[in-house]
Symmetry: C2
Subunit: 365 residues, 2 copies
């Protein structure tokens, strides 16, 4: 049995650049399982029909009969297309999917590997930035977390709270588009009550017209290059203008998916188990065209098991944050969300507080 | 003996809002010593002559005879002014300073408490973001770290490297102003060699005219509000225009000084010892008007001791990154910097790498 990986993802597979995984030691594999990113490499290349044909041609030439594809709902769609194409062409290729997306927008699975770690980071970030704001306040701080289309990671910031006045004070979700003026009114109300406001919002937050805040397009040299959106900064500037207050923007950015130190232990263990289950299944005799998925078998203490689901049950389906996880006013999470999430991220010790001053008091406003 | 803290720093002291510290338990104190920010609170308020007089008036009224002031060179200047003013007015007030600044620009002390933790964060951030960029590249990524006037934290990112091609590939310092066009040429050279470039730069980087990149002023409601500068984003946009490449900007921001999980253990221990030494000294019979400082007594294994230095040896003096810590070309650190810094931050395990593909290879350009 030969085991190879496509260097850099699809581009490597198309050009025939394969990494030999048989030579990887158990110790090296263990180290890789703890590291961020992908040791194999990854890409966002789209597989058009022509590339699909080339890819199956490479498989045939390399005598590759088993293919495991890692990623989110877009990747599972690619895996499904490969499965169908090879079947139609009569090339025996068993295709399986390994779930991995911090966005957690994969259907069927209880959660996607990658999400618990990114959620843990987002919660720690809001806890620590919130504490910083509380001790040296800008009146308002907008923290932009990851999450392009769904509010799963914005929701995770709720785990940061330990006291009645803890950050985040407001959480918005792309599932609940909101007008700038409404955000400004919300912020002002919290500011009047507490004097300091920390807002959690994800990079894909939509305004009332369903358009993302802060999307920015830049015309550069050889063509149009889309810059990473800068939603938090744009929102901060607009809130400062409306409210006449100093507003800071914070965007922990890619660290939100790559910070090794804040990865969730449960996530690490489940990621390994999903990969292992997919590898066993692809070498087995069951139906190909599956994705490994997680099922929660016990809430307390938390336990999960891996099962297989057909690729077409997950391909291209986007799972938004469900309504029962969003507070009725659309600006907070529910206890159900906390119960779902807390076991995945592990504990988040609260920051200590001193008692407020006994005599006199600085003007809170 | 009564022990109080000025709630929120200077504003609390001026308004007579004091926190009673005598009631804080040892366990609570221990928890506070592990938390980011300041449990007491802090401010950036400037103490003008009128406020100085009011403050000494409050001290007199509250019968405060011992004052410990925490912060960087600006705070030590305030402490020194208080010391002089009280002396001139014949009010017996013993003033001492406790050093604390992530910027590490305090004179006399080997390093400032706060810096080792922020340095450790900066190194981890570049290691993890660098790994993310390597596995899913934007061709160029500009990472903005903290550091308003000096390159101490930009320099710390060099600890992230473990392989010949590790991030950061270029490091700039405010001590070495540099033209945009020169940065672009540097980036292009690395890009041609490696195909992926990660740049570390601090928020205070200056261009060849000695002006900060990306300073931004926003006119809002009641007046002019300075937004947090957005140097990395500005630089990324300009590099994208010049080079015709996709350039991402990353700014971990305030997490760089507040991330509890990545704080340095040596930093925690030394911060405690500086505070303890200052408290003992202020109650002693030696000269007031001092700051506690750190002296490195052994390089390997690292050891330090606390000593006292006159406030006027540190007040308002800014210590830039010394020339022997900056590489001759101004775009990297020296081995001396690594030897100085590594014991303060502790170990930084490298990320593992797979061997490059044996057959074929994707076009690196």
């Amino acid at each position: 049995l030969r085991v190879v990986a496509a260097a850099g993802g699809l581009p490597g597979a198309l050009s025939g650049a394969f990494l030999d995984l048989a030579g990887v030691s158990a110790a090296q594999l263990q180290a890789i399982s703890q590291a961020p990113g992908s040791a194999i490499g990854s890409s966002r290349q789209h597989l058009d029909d022509e590339a699909l044909a080339s890819l199956v041609e490479v498989m045939r030439r390399e005598e590759i009969r088993y293919l495991l594809y890692t990623g989110g709902n877009g990747s599972m769609e690619t895996a499904l297309r490969l499965h169908h194409y090879a079947t139609r062409r009569g090339y025996e290729l068993r295709v399986g999917g390994i779930p991995k997306t911090i966005d957690n927008d994969l259907a069927v699975t209880d959660h996607a590997p990658g999400y618990p770690s990114a959620a843990r980071f987002a919660a720690h970030a809001l806890r620590d930035i919130g504490e910083d704001n509380r001790s040296l306040p800008p009146p308002v701080c907008v923290v932009e977390v990851l999450g392009r289309n769904t509010g799963w990671l914005a929701a995770a910031t709720a785990l940061a709270r330990s006291h009645a006045d803890s950050a985040p004070h407001l959480i918005y979700f792309p599932e609940r588009p909101v007008a700038l003026e409404e955000i400004a009114a919300d912020v002002e109300a919290v500011y009047r009550r507490l004097g300091v406001v920390t807002v959690a919002v994800c990079e894909g937050q939509l305004n009332e017209r369903g358009r993302p805040f802060g999307a920015e397009v830049d015309r550069a040299g050889s063509g149009v290059h889309r810059l990473a959106s800068n939603l938090g900064h744009t929102l901060a500037r607009e809130l400062a203008t409306i409210l006449g207050l100093r507003v800071r923007a914070e965007k922990p950015g890619l660290l939100g998916r790559s910070c090794q130190t804040l990865a969730s232990e449960i996530d690490r263990a489940e990621s390994w188990r999903c990969g292992e289950a997919a590898a066993r299944a692809i070498l087995g005799t069951g139906e190909p065209g599956f994705m490994a998925a997680l099922r929660r078998t016990c809430h307390e203490p938390y336990a999960s098991e891996v099962f297989l689901t057909p690729l077409d049950s997950v391909a291209r389906r986007e799972r938004p944050l469900p309504s029962e996880f969003i507070a009725p006013d659309g600006k907070d999470v529910t206890d159900e969300l906390l119960a779902y999430l807390a076991p995945l991220t592990g504990g988040l010790p609260p920051h200590p507080r001193l008692e407020p001053p006994k005599r006199g008091s600085p003007d809170a406003q």
